[in-house]
Assembly symmetry: C2
Homo-oligomer: 108 residues x 2
Amino acid sequence: MSQPTICPKFEKAISILSQKWTALVIYQLLLGTQRFSEIQSTIGISGKVLADRLKDLENQEIVKREVIPETPVIIEYSLTEKGKTMEPIIRDIEKWSQLWFEEDTDVQ
Amino acid sequence: MSQPTICPKFEKAISILSQKWTALVIYQLLLGTQRFSEIQSTIGISGKVLADRLKDLENQEIVKREVIPETPVIIEYSLTEKGKTMEPIIRDIEKWSQLWFEEDTDVQ
DNA sequence: AAATTAAGTTACATAAAGTAAGTTTATGGG
DNA sequence: CCCATAAACTTACTTTATGTAACTTAATTT
């Protein structure tokens, strides 16, 4: 007998969100446009992995990259419309976390 | 100047959900109680990693493990109350995926 | 006693993430 | 002109996570 199968669209979404750091990057960008170094120091991700994630998210059209020709050059990252529609997901995670991790001691 | 910091409860929730396979395991268990081998063959995870994930989720009290003393022994996994309250998160991901990945060809 | 079955576990291989130093590009100072 | 500075990466290398396939355990049934 054949196994039930998982919707490929859902699997795709999950594969994006289950990459380490992706959800935190999106969470940060929900606060508004940010620069590479801001994201990096706020969430504590390495430059290498952040560059990777931002490229992936750009390819997925979740994040938009803008070059500001100042000196030294500044890059601004922000969410696209597609990215902004992920807000309910992030907010639900936020709400759930507040509900179920009461004390700091629960969080290790 | 000090960097803004991320809520540790939120980070904790994210660290659970951003592990590979975790969301898919929970998604499966939202369908009801399932056995190890059912989860394994439906989502296509290796036995090793599934055993890991189920242990983690049990420790987090998201999943409940029940031994059915038949022969050979059967283990039933299901969501706890805490686990069930993750449903909105999973449903939002599902909705978002349906909205933004229109064609199978988008999904690689 | 050998075979069967579910739920793992183990040993080993590959892929992903972490770390720290280096690169690029554009100025502004000496 | 040459050196320093600063932001955004990149590279080389190490450590951790995941994948693969064979093996283990325990209770039957043949």
